[in-house]
Amino acid sequence: MKPAAFTYHRAYDVNDTIAQLAELGQDAKILAGGQSLVAMMNFRLARPSALVDITRIAGLDYLERDAQGLRVGALTRHRTVETAKIDGFGVLSKAARWIGHYPIRCRGTFGGSIAHGDSTAEWCVLAVLLEARIVLQGPRGRREVPATEFFQGFFMTAAQPDEMIVEVRFPKPAPHAALTEYSQRQGDFAIVAASARLDLTEDEVLTSRVVLGGVGQQPVVVDADLAGQPANEETWRAAGEVAAAQVDPPSDGHGSSAYRKKLTAALVARALAEAAA
């Protein structure tokens, strides 16, 4: 389990990164926290010809709350999100606890997680839930892709190999949002992750959104509008059943498709209840 050879390059700003990626060609890759990439390289499942290390780029590690919402710099560590108090975005700090373990969170980056595009990854699921926009920079300039279009399949995203994620923008606060998940062992990737966002009055749902991880090739938006329904346990349970009926999850060693459906029902109900609380 030793990686294949590659050439190492260090970038000091975003433009430098883009230029180096362009020069090094298709098989070059960005190296951020390395918490997904290096593990895959050790297995030789990933064998980039060159790595451009972006961790020395200054000024990309930030959480900026503005009138519109929240901007997260690509190099913001999971741990920074976990320990921050971000008004209206408590869901991010809370969800960070689900990502791996303390040392993983000290090293892994927000942008890296989005770029990696694991369908169960907390940041990917929440980006879709909160309708974030992914800010990419490349040789053709800057562009923004809605998270709903960014994740395109099994570890596939809209980012081109010569582009870099520089920021993730969350357009509006989500005081009533939650993410929950299940894995047998603490710190592991979720078998199923469920996230929910609500607008609600004391006893009635105004708008709702539910997004799942681990049930498809990318985060899956559940088609269920709870508007007008009472904000109670029964509604959450029913929504869970609706979600479970909609998904057709894959089977693997961590759980069969049927099991993932059952988890979906349970976890959606829990996420909604937590979001409403």
Partner: protein
């Protein structure tokens, strides 16, 4: 042609300058190029935590970082915990609580606990300590001695 780099690394206060191949992990650089064999390698995919060291004060998996990335950084390894021959409070607690058997996981747990305790002001409850220590695997102890040791040190340090 090997892709090689000259890097500078401070390990437990000692400065080193060495040439490394870019694909060598920090764990291998520490162990084999610099002789800090106290840091162990158990899985090379981020699960076991045997390779945990502090990189600029943060606990990290040395198997998931390339040595060249640590250029210019400060690394703390298990060899840097004791004051000369005098074991640190944490090391003593591990022995007292029987937090180690074969000792293979021990350096990783010590560094994980060291980082965690340095961020702690109060005395964490048992379930929180377990949650944090869950970052690393131990096959021998059943974890109880490790958890007890960390809690005892937290108590001692809180006074």
């Amino acid at each position: 042609m090997k892709d090689i780099h000259l890097i500078a690394l401070t390990v437990n206060g000692t400065e080193h300058e060495i040439v490394v191949e870019s694909r060598r992990t920090l764990a291998d650089v520490l162990r084999h190029d610099l002789g800090y064999t106290g840091t162990h390698v158990g899985c090379e995919h981020g699960i076991c935590g045997a390779c945990t060291v502090l990189l600029d004060g943060q606990p990290v998996r040395a198997c998931l970082i390339f040595g060249v990335q640590a250029d210019g950084c400060e690394v703390r390894t298990v060899e840097g915990l004791a004051d000369g021959d005098e074991l640190s409070d944490l090391q003593k607690a591990f022995s007292r609580c029987h937090g180690l058997q074969c000792g293979f996981c021990t350096p990783g747990f010590l560094m994980l606990a060291e980082a965690y305790l340095s961020e702690q002001d109060g005395v964490p409850d048992e379930s929180e300590v377990r949650e944090v220590m869950a970052a690393n695997l131990c096959r021998c102890t059943g974890y109880q001695g490790i958890v007890d040791a960390v809690r005892q040190v937290a108590e001692e340090r809180a006074g």
